[in-house]
């Protein structure tokens, strides 16, 4: 009876020990993952200003701001300090460019992106934006009616939808300032019942204007 009791006690004790050990082991294994899901996370909010070159001879200015809404930290190799951090963010950019002796384009580009941190001083971004473009033609615009009368149209231009695919390469110069180079391919449509491609390059600075709590 005592033996039975002792054995019963030992079984319970053993079960508890295993339970605790497993809990510790699981905690150790997934501790970094738990940390990644920590709801209180402060991530940088950036404001940016850059010069825009749109091939072949358009130049302009773009400004914008990006808000992180989620961060993901991955460190799947226990005992190693290798960490990959990625922020997901929403961004809004606005600006203009001028194609001399052709037109000026105003752009508004809300977008969604991922910011991949590679080191303390470098990160890169991939961004998709769906935007709106308004053109204003250089020089005067005229309309001629059926009787041949000519009238001038003020501030005439057209609206287009745009889709932008960009990669930004960011070099942190200080805690506040980041230098950025951002090549893009983007599409303007409907342009003459088709899609007009653009190749552009932005170069400018990002300022860390604050931090935002993200998931």
């Amino acid at each position: 009876m005592w033996l039975y009791h002792c054995s019963k006690y030992r079984q319970t004790n053993m079960r508890d020990t295993i339970k605790h050990s497993l809990a510790v082991l699981i905690f150790l294994l997934v501790s970094t993952h738990i940390k990644a899901q920590d709801p209180v996370r402060l991530r940088p909010v950036f404001a940016q200003a850059s010069l825009l070159y749109d091939f072949p001879q358009s130049f302009g200015v773009i400004t914008g701001i990006s808000w992180p809404f989620r961060t993901i930290v991955k460190s799947r190799i226990p005992g190693k300090s290798f960490i990959r951090r990625k922020d997901r963010f929403l961004a809004v950019e606005a600006g203009f460019y001028r194609y001399p002796f052709n037109y000026t384009g105003l752009l508004l580009m809300p977008g969604y992106g991922a910011r991949h941190y590679r080191s303390q001083s470098f990160f890169y971004e991939t961004i998709v934006s769906l935007g709106l473009m308004r053109t204003f033609y250089d020089g005067k615009v005229y309309d001629v009616n059926a009787t041949g009368n000519v009238t001038e149209k003020k501030l005439y231009g057209r609206f287009y939808a745009t889709t932008h695919l960009s990669s930004a390469f960011d070099f942190r110069a200080s805690k506040l300032i980041t230098l950025e180079v951002k090549p893009s391919v983007w599409f303007q449509y409907p342009f003459d019942s088709f899609i007009k491609p653009h190749l552009s390059l932005q170069a400018g600075i990002k300022l860390e204007t604050g931090k935002r709590m993200v998931r």
Partner: protein, 340 residues
């Protein structure tokens, strides 16, 4: 009070018609809009001459800046040239407008452009410089109503004012010249292929055959020693190369574009060309197999103009402004000086 006076001044100046300053080195741009298309017109050269030569480019879909180089350099010293990009061509822009791309609409566009040039340059003498497809467009414009009264003269350069005749004469010219060259032993393999194709296909019955023969016609110029274009594509110019590319692609590589080009195949203005009475200068390249010199002879025969002169250039194909640049500019200057 001050604000009221200032506002009135702004309103008054805003209503005033603004005329560009005339200059020996003008560089002006304006746009003409209508039925879904916004078309740029670049005016360059000597606008102080009060002569404006409106370039009606070929293609369709080629763009006008292709002519703004050495080919027209001397003309720009003496006169202003207006480089107009037709709808759905060059740097023209618009949204969903391809359904409006028809020859009657393009003739209406040309009418509008001439009216606007007259409005911006009130005392200017306007001439047309119409090349290839531009020749068809210009002919359609000139035979319509009183349009020709807005011009001092027109210059047709290898113009396709009669597409059925263009197709049949292109085929004939390739067979005749090809047979002759084969007999002489020149480029025998290439010419045999061309002659064989032309003898077995009818471009007036098949759009594909017409397109293929046009391609052979371009190759044939090279076999006859006509030099290639020296100018190349101007990427860094006001005529956005991406717009040019998109418009060209749309016309030549989509079914909608093919339908438009095919719709031109039956257009023939020869029977109406007797309505054209303004001075006419007809310039052709001897080795143009695309729009052969016989089209120039046809124009000369049909035109109702008192002055109608045909000049055939000895070193040129479809673009005599490239092959015989200086001679052609001399002839245009003589013509303009006489009738401006």
């Amino acid at each position: 009070m001050k604000v009221t006076i200032l506002s009135l001044l702004i309103l008054l100046t805003a209503c005033k018609k603004q005329v560009p300053a005339l200059s020996t080195s003008a560089n002006d741009i304006f746009w003409v809009t209508g039925n879904g298309a916004d078309m740029p017109v670049w005016v360059q050269g000597n606008s102080a001459s009060k002569v404006i030569i409106l370039v009606v480019h070929g293609g369709p879909g080629d763009g006008s800046y292709n002519y703004n180089n050495y080919q027209t350099a001397r003309l720009k010293e003496k006169y202003a040239l207006a480089f107009w990009d037709q709808r759905n061509a060059g740097a023209s822009a618009g949204n969903n407008n391809f359904s409006n791309l028809t020859l009657p609409q393009m003739i209406g566009d040309l009418k509008s452009v001439v009216k606007v040039i007259g409005y911006r340059y009130p005392k200017a003498s306007i001439f047309l410089y119409a090349h290839s497809f531009g020749g068809l467009l210009a002919a359609g414009y000139l035979v319509d109503g009183q349009n020709q009264n807005d011009l001092k003269g027109w210059i047709e350069i290898d113009g396709a004012h009669n597409y059925p005749l263009t197709n049949s004469d292109s085929k004939k010219a390739l067979i005749d010249t090809g047979s002759s060259e084969i007999a002489k032993g020149n480029n025998v393999t290439q010419w045999q292929e061309i002659v064989q194709y032309c003898k077995t296909h009818n471009p007036r019955k098949s759009f594909n055959a017409s397109t293929q023969i046009e391609e052979y016609a371009q190759h044939a110029e090279g076999y006859m020693g006509v030099a290639d274009d020296k100018s190349g594509t101007q990427i860094f110019s006001p005529e956005d190369p991406f717009s040019l590319l998109v418009n060209y692609f749309k016309i030549y590589y989509t079914s909608a574009g093919s339908n438009f080009v095919e719709s031109l195949q039956k257009i023939n203005y020869s029977p109406q060309m007797n309505k054209i009475t303004i001075p006419s200068l007809l310039l052709w390249g001897k080795y143009d197999f695309t729009v052969p010199p016989s089209l120039g002879l046809d124009a000369q025969k049909q035109l109702g103009s008192a002055f109608k002169k045909l000049i055939i250039y000895p070193h040129s194909g479809h673009r005599p402004m490239q092959g015989d640049t200086e001679m052609m500019q001399d002839d245009i200057i003589d013509f303009v000086e006489r009738f401006k």
